[in-house]
């Protein structure tokens, strides 16, 4: 709200509208997010055990292998049209893990495929994930600089 528009801002109306919004069920939402998020983490841990014990991977290799498989699963479930249904119920539980990041890249890729491979899919692939990457890189750079001079 800036400048001239400010005069129209109606606090009573906004309060009136908000009074009709059904209350958010925090406890239920938190429980669902905890269960689904926890389940995704369990899959990650399971993969970690497998890759560590069966394929004898360790350190960075192990972390990368687990991430790759989880990203693949997130993308696959997005393509199959399942991930958005999980997300509708799980909320942050399926958005925060790395599978959610995969979903945020894969879903616009599917959506904008109709606008062409280059100008559609490739160009619009990062409309949702873009800010995460920009501020992630920025935050990483700042933290890195602090470490450098400490």
């Amino acid at each position: 709200m800036t400048g001239k528009n400010r005069q129209n801002y109606n606090k009573n109306y906004i309060a009136y509208v908000n009074s009709f919004d059904p209350p958010t069920k925090h406890l239920k939402n938190c429980f669902r997010a905890y269960m689904v998020g926890g389940f995704i983490c369990c899959i990650g841990q399971f993969l970690r055990e497998i890759f560590g014990n069966v394929f004898a991977l360790n350190g960075d290799e192990l972390a990368s292998a687990v991430s790759i498989v989880l990203i693949f699963l997130g993308t696959l479930l997005t393509g199959l049209g399942v991930y958005d249904r999980i997300g509708r119920n799980a909320g942050a539980g399926s958005i925060v893990p790395i599978t959610g990041f995969a979903n945020s890249v894969a879903s616009p890729a599917i959506e904008f495929k109709t606008e062409g491979l280059v100008y559609g899919m490739a160009a619009k692939m990062f409309v949702v994930a873009g800010p995460i990457i920009v501020f992630g890189v920025l935050a990483g750079t700042i933290v890195g600089l602090i470490y450098l001079f400490l």
């Binding site: 709200m1 528009n5 129209n8 801002y9 109606n10 109306y13 906004i14 509208v17 009709f20 919004d21 059904p22 958010t24 997005t78 393509g79 049209g81 991930y83 958005d84 999980i86 997300g87 509708r88 799980a90 909320g91 399926s94 958005i95 959610g100 979903n103 945020s104 894969a106 879903s107 616009p108 599917i110 959506e111 904008f112 109709t114 409309v127 949702v128």
Partner: protein
């Protein structure tokens, strides 16, 4: 002059309507000319489907009014997409002068108001006024990709998948019982609603009335 009273009372002769599967699951399904079972309407994209629905609504309105395309003086239409592309592309199917309008949810009322004004003033005798939208193309335009795993607040509203149009004519052409008697064009009133999921609340203060 916010309100115009039409002395010659332009008539709504007939309508043409089409709606998607979710809309037709309820009572609306019984009243539309065509109830879709496939929200793609046999097209490859949602935008093309939206355009085809709009084109269907326009030609069905003419058909139901038993009028020929060459007798129609004007086509007034709009939709929700950029450059009102569905309406413009649907207008390619007709050899009729086209007037594109945009008013979001008020597009149809705006089209009716303008059509009645032209007819009442004697500048046109037969006008087809229509609008259409598609849930999936609107989601892409205004919100997030369909497959994104985000949550929808319970108060969020859904954009209609469907299109509708009316054949509006001078009282000399038709003696239909439905007439447009007056139109009140609303002002843009922004009370500060910023929730993209609650467009109804954002638009409620902007009231325009078409007297029918």
């Amino acid at each position: 002059m916010q309100t115009i009273v039409f002395k010659n009372k332009p008539r709504i002769v007939a309508t043409g309507t089409i709606a998607g599967p979710k809309e037709c699951a309820g009572v609306v399904g019984k009243y539309v000319d065509k109830a879709l079972t496939d929200d793609m309407f046999g097209e490859s994209t949602y935008e093309k489907a939206e355009c085809k629905m709009l084109s269907y609504a326009m030609s069905k309105a003419m058909e139901n009014a038993r009028e020929r395309e060459k007798d129609v003086d004007m086509l007034i239409s709009g939709d929700l997409l950029n450059q009102i592309i569905s309406a413009s592309f649907a207008a390619r199917d007709f050899d009729i002068p086209f007037l594109g309008v945009y008013g979001a949810c008020s597009t149809l009322a705006e089209a009716y108001g303008l059509a009645a004004t032209f007819i009442d003033g004697g500048y046109a005798k037969k006008i087809v006024a229509a609008t259409g939208s598609h849930f999936s193309s609107a989601e892409r335009q205004y919100r997030y990709p369909l497959e994104l795993g985000n949550t929808r607040p319970p108060q969020s509203q859904w954009t209609v998948t469907g299109a509708g149009g009316a054949f509006i004519a001078d009282m000399g052409v038709s003696n239909s019982d439905v007439a447009i008697t007056s139109a009140t064009f609303g002002k843009v009133v922004d009370f500060g609603i910023t929730d993209v999921n609650n467009m109804g609340a954002a638009m409620a203060p902007d009231i325009g009335i078409i007297g029918i």
